[in-house]
Amino acid sequence: MTARRFRLGLGVALVAIIALAGLLAPWIAPFDPNASGADVLSGATATHWMGTDDLGRDVYSRVLHGARISLLVGPLAALVTAIIGVPFGLLAGYARGRLNQFLVQVMDLFIALPNLVLALIITVMVGATLLNIVLVLGIVMWPEMARLVRGQVMSLRETPFIEAARSIGCKPSRILAFHIWPNIMRIVAAQMAIAVSAAIFTAASLGFLGLGLPPPAADWGSMVQSGFDYLSLNPLLSLAPGAAVALTVLGFYLVGRSVE
């Protein structure tokens, strides 16, 4: 119990710090994240806490602004995941016979495809914009959500109170909306937090592979990648955004796991 409390506390604290950093970035960042400067690839100094990148931009300011992108991409992608996955899971869990089989097979098909590879292929085809990345992540991640919801619905479906509702003539839509959904909301919320962390991680991976938001966006994954060339001059170019990704992912994951 205490371990779980600790995890929840740590998760909430991390998420809060990142959220504050993102929200306040325009005021607390010492420099414009996209303004170039003549002091190129400097190490950490009193002016540039994390040094500067290959265009002389302040790394600390870019990491702060990067939080805005991650906090937009992660939750929105989780929302898309829920919008597709929850209805699908509800239907797949409640339906029987051919329809059930069909829905389960569609789900299994998507689960069998590796998320990152699928995301890469779709991103290459549609182009990396904020909206596209959110949609792509939602599309590759929804089966996890659907599977979870389906499992919950299947066990709830056999419980006496649902039997009772069915016996007095409630329609399936009513049963799903008013009897089953309220009972799985908490689990869906927890899964969404985990989906946020997975989405941020996958978005960073896309950025690292060169499919992040186009430059000059302060996209953490792209920053890790472009810093690679200069690791021996200023390792913070990659380490700082990399750590930011790790902490954000950890934060959301801990929150999700503890609520569950």
Binding site: N34, A35, S36, G37, A38, V40, L41, D54, L55, G56, A128, G210, P214, P215, P216, S226, F228, D229, Y230, L231, S232, L233
Partner: protein, 513 residues
């Protein structure tokens, strides 16, 4: 002479005879060359063939110049010097080149190199069925090649073509063994046979190319090395790490940022090319929005090239006011200069009727330097009210897509060539094969055609000065700078030469003990 010569994954530009410098230190060697040892070269592996007839990649030529000899050779000062052709005369008002060949030269397969072999090589490149990428350049120029005597060959031209001798120092002049080429057919590119200082041993695609000393090389006592290995490096950063630990002896295409890691380190020498690649922006001048000359001039004035040079080159590049670097025989004073002048840029935009906030798409290839350049360009154009959208494109695709005219506005890099006709004609002439801007200026075509029709150096100098003025006024390209480029080499490797085409020549290199 060359074709599209993409720098593969690394740099998008093209190159033929470029401008670099003989490293002073390698010239001033006092030590006696030493026989034996292996040279390992860090290599961008996009090589596809070792047959010069079909070669288009930049990297291939580092190897080709060791396996083969060229008819002429290019000196470190752009001068044309003898190689397989010991001397030549130009007759018939510049339309007949008579080459007298070295006697006693043998191909690696033991057959003789003679006038018939030279004729075979040209006929093969000109043959439509062979489909050599050099054909489109050679065919309009060369009428026929004639064996005059066993070691005298004449090249008869359709029109005067002053840069022929420079072309013979590059791909067009690399002589393959006719016997081997006939016997091997398609497989010749994997089993190359030339007259060069090194013989081909092994090619493990994507890993290494190994060459061994040609014991019967016609230049007595040479070469000195037993073996040259071209080892693939995924990028220059990793190449530098391998250089530091001694896994490779040579890495080039380095930027000032790269060499910060090795400058001053014991055992490694850093050398700068005398003239680096010409970096520029190009666009399609026959299509909106860049068919508006006011917009082109506005953008030229909006760019702060000094700042781009400071940030991306540590200030070590040379600002370009045209495609010709200073210090070449065809360099001319800059009569038209587009200074950094944001106020003028805004005024030109207003005259052009382009509203503030108008969106422009600029390709952003994945090469790190080009990525840096486009981000700075985007920032500087933003300052005069244009909104630049950067469209990422894979490095391996971007040149092809530019040539297909699928990309309208992009950064570009080209190396210099030994003769001004090289870059001027292919990039700016309306019939130039690398003219991907849609630029078509009768004035410029006339100047370039006139410069081709004369061998008088003074007249050509004036014509190319005029050509540069026209190009800079019309702005099919916005010149940025000539990059500062470096090679980092183990101190033990001596006697190598970095010729103006930016291809290192390791033929006479040796390894000090």
């Amino acid at each position: 002479m060359t074709m599209i010569d993409r720098r593969g994954v690394l740099l998008g530009g093209t190159s033929l005879l470029g401008a670099a410098a003989l490293p002073a230190s390698s010239r001033a060697q006092t030590a006696e060359p030493r026989r034996g040892g292996t040279l390992t070269v860090g290599f961008d592996d996009n090589a596809r063939t070792m047959d010069p007839t079909f070669s288009i990649q930049f990297s291939e030529r580092q190897v080709l110049f060791l396996i083969y000899n060229t008819l002429t050779t290019i000196g470190t000062d752009f001068s044309i010097q003898p190689e397989l052709a010991r001397s030549w005369t130009i007759e018939n008002e510049g339309k007949r080149y008579v080459l007298r060949l070295q006697a006693g030269v043998k191909f690696h397969d033991g057959t003789d190199f003679d006038a018939a072999a030279v004729k075979y090589n040209f006929d093969r490149r000109l043959d439509e069925r062979v489909n050599s990428p050099q054909r489109s350049v050679l065919r309009p120029v060369i009428d026929n090649v004639e064996v005059v005597a066993p070691h005298v060959v004449a090249i008869n031209l359709r029109t005067p073509y002053p840069s022929l001798l420079a072309d013979l120092a590059d791909r067009a002049g690399l002589m393959v063994s006719p016997t081997a080429a006939e016997r091997l057919g398609q497989d010749f590119g994997r089993n190359p046979v030339g007259t060069g200082a090194f013989t081909f041993r092994q090619w493990v695609q994507g890993t290494s190319i190994t060459l061994e000393r040609n014991a019967n090389y016609w230049e007595q006592g040479r070469p000195y090395l037993d073996r040259v290995v071209f080892r693939t490096i995924p990028n220059q950063i990793i190449g530098m790490q391998r250089l530091i630990v001694g896994e490779v002896d040579y890495v080039d295409s380095l930027t000032p940022e790269h060499i910060r890691q090795v400058e001053g380190r014991d055992g490694i020498v850093v050398q700068q090319a005398r003239v680096g690649r010409w970096y520029s922006l190009q666009w399609q001048v026959d299509k909106p929005p860049f068919n508006n000359p006011l917009l082109r001039r506005a953008i030229a004035h909006a760019l702060d090239r000094d700042r781009i040079n400071t940030i991306t080159m540590g200030g070590r590049g040379t600002i370009a006011n045209g495609p010709v670097p200073p210090g070449l025989w065809w360099s001319s004073p800059d009569s038209v200069v587009h200074n950094h002048d944001p106020a003028r840029a805004r005024q030109l935009l207003a005259e052009a009727g382009i509203a503030p906030g108008t969106e422009i798409t600029l390709a952003a290839p994945s090469d790190p330097l080009l990525r840096q350049i486009v981000q700075l360009v985007s920032e500087q154009l933003g300052a005069v009210g244009l909104r630049v959208v950067l469209a990422p494109v894979a490095q391996s695709e971007y040149y092809a897509r530019t040539v297909q005219r699928a990309i309208n506005f992009t950064p570009m890099a080209w190396t210099q060539r030994a003769d001004p006709d090289g870059l001027f004609f292919i990039l700016f002439h309306s019939r130039g094969f690398a003219n991907s801007t849609g630029y078509n200026s009768p004035d410029l075509d006339a100047a370039l055609d006139a410069a081709r029709a004369t061998t008088d150096v003074e007249a050509r100098r004036r014509l190319y000065a005029r050509a540069k003025e026209i190009v800079v006024t019309d702005l099919p390209y916005v010149p940025l700078y000539f990059a500062a480029e470096y090679a980092a080499v183990s101190r033990r490797i001596q006697g190598w030469v970095w010729t103006p085409d930016q291809i290192p020549r390791f033929r006479y290199a040796w390894r000090a003990s």
